[in-house]
């Protein structure tokens, strides 16, 4: 289950991720937490080589996805091949070691009808 959380402005309903302390539309200061709903769709992605210090894989695919409730997020696609618009399921797993500590984030695998996982 994903621990990704969006924040919806109580005043105007704008859904944001990452967190802001003032609403990007109305400057409101109160928010409710909104988890992602359902599958998500890949909006854009890139397969990166020459990864930064601390990540020893040869390559990684990162992508921006949009969930059925409008929440958008960047995550790590755990698959060999990505395709624009593909449907993915969200998970929450270790993504990097920062300052000696394992950090968790959004991981994405193809939804059942899509291609194989890595």
């Amino acid at each position: 289950m994903s621990h990704l959380v969006g924040h919806r402005c109580v005043e105007c309903g704008r859904l944001m991720n990452p967190r802001h302390l003032r609403c990007l539309d109305c400057n409101g200061r109160e928010f409710e937490e909104v988890p992602p709903e359902g599958e998500c769709r890949l909006i854009t992605y890139s397969e990166i080589t020459s990864l930064p210090w601390g990540i020893d894989e040869r390559s990684r695919i990162l992508g921006v996805v949009e969930f059925e409730n409008g929440l958008k997020a960047l995550g790590w696609l755990r698959t060999d091949k990505a395709k624009m618009g593909m449907r993915l399921n969200a998970g929450w797993g270790p993504v990097r070691v920062v300052g000696g500590e394992e950090v968790y984030g959004l991981t994405l695998v193809p939804a059942k009808s899509s291609s194989r996982t890595r």
Partner: protein, 394 residues
């Protein structure tokens, strides 16, 4: 506000400068600018030092104070200005405002970076710290990855191909060959970087669809400008170059929160502010230095600032309009691609190049009769952008 002029410029060759410390490089560039202006013993009132990563690359902070000490600018006011890769542009903007306000007369703006002190993957990591810490950095996002995700949307929407990107690189490498200050002095060909089957090794994907030759190098270097009020220019020997306009705008930190992820809103707004202040329009520009950290950005920025309609930037490139000798030369210095991109230095290096162009001092890469110059310094991945219009005063 008073009018502000650039009366002295200087830089050092960009590249790998193992033998120089960061403050050495800043000092050489500063002294070159001061000598260019011929200021002799005239006191400098303030110094603004553009630098992004001294704390991480070089384990040094308070760089501006160190520079003042190294070249005896005492007792000038001085501070470092940090705005990611737009640190130079921001330092220049702050220097301009300082003179325009009437509070300071002679202001030195110096910007530099020493990135090669760390190995490649560490430099990649330092640069990546400008991405959102919780929403992007933790995933291993790099600046090329942001460019890759942007390009994946922008290219099909506006008809830009891999060949167009390669042609930006080829043009800028050719220009770099004419620039003794450029990091990269290497002619490249379309066959070598794209059409040959061997290009897969010569020019591999770094963050697809962005390839190695679509990315600027990792460079060391520094550049400097000396500013004064327009009323003082007669005291200096070189033709005055007025800072006719500047603009700065911001946009969301993350790509995912942009209203339209293909819209470089901060570029549009900063450019418009600069043109409005200068009372000029994009059509008045004779030469431009755009922020081609990635080749896609040269084309995208040329459209967003108003030189070409969306979808026409690549065509203009193909027609040769943006070559030296074309109707609107872009990056005659070689741009970030070939001149190099010591991240904090770039914004000031762009102003140095434009000053040389507008004075007629650009040697083999001179754009004929250049009177109005324009620059864009792109911070983060387009979330903080500074633009300038420079004009030769008659």
């Amino acid at each position: 506000m008073r009018g502000v002029a650039i009366v002295g410029v200087g830089m050092i060759p960009f590249g790998r400068r193992d033998e120089d410390t960061l403050v050495d490089m800043l000092s050489y560039a500063a002294l070159n600018a001061m000598d260019d202006a011929g200021i002799g013993d005239m006191p400098i009132d303030a110094a603004y030092v553009g630098n992004m990563g001294a704390g991480l690359f070089n384990h040094q902070t308070a760089v501006a104070s160190s520079l003042v000490d190294r070249i005896n600018l005492f007792p000038a006011a001085a501070e470092s200005v940090e705005n990611g890769p737009a640190s130079g542009g921001s330092a220049l903007k702050n220097g301009v405002l300082a003179v325009a306000s009437g509070y300071f007369d002679l202001v030195l703006v110096v910007a530099g970076e020493k990135m090669r002190e760390v190995v490649g993957p560490r430099a990649t990591d330092v640069v990546a710290t400008m991405t959102h810490p919780q929403a992007e950095y933790i995933y291993g996002a790099t600046l090329p990855s942001m460019a890759g995700m942007f390009a994946r949307l922008y290219m099909p929407k506006y008809g830009i191909t891999a060949e167009h990107l390669a042609k930006v690189a080829i043009k800028n490498h050719s220009n770099g060959l004419l620039n003794p200050y450029a990091h990269i002095h290497s002619r490249i060909t379309l066959e070598g970087i794209l059409t040959s089957p061997h290009a897969i090794v010569n020019n591999p994907f770094v963050a697809d669809p962005i390839r190695l030759y679509d990315c600027c190098p990792v460079s060391d270097g520094a550049a400097a400008c000396l500013l004064c009020p327009i009323e003082m220019v007669a005291q200096f020997k070189k033709p005055a170059i007025a800072v006719a306009g500047f603009g700065q705008a911001t946009d969301t930190h993350t790509l995912q929160e942009r209203e339209d992820p293909t819209d470089l809103k901060a570029v549009r707004l900063a450019a418009r502010q600069a043109f409005d202040m200068a009372k000029l329009s994009p059509g008045d520009v004779d030469v431009a230095e755009l922020h081609d950290a990635f080749t896609i950005l040269e084309i995208a920025e040329s459209e967003h600032v108003g030189f070409f309609e969306k979808g026409e930037g690549a065509k203009a490139l193909e027609r040769g309009q943006t070559q030296i000798g074309g109707s609107l030369p872009i990056n005659p210095s070689g741009g970030l691609k070939a001149r190099g991109h010591p991240v904090g230095a770039t914004g000031v290096a762009q102003a140095v190049e434009l000053t040389w162009q507008l004075r007629g001092e650009a040697g083999q890469r001179q754009v004929k009769n250049a009177e109005v110059g324009f620059s864009v310094n792109f911070g983060g991945f387009g979330n903080n952008v500074v633009a300038f219009v420079l004009r030769r005063e008659s």
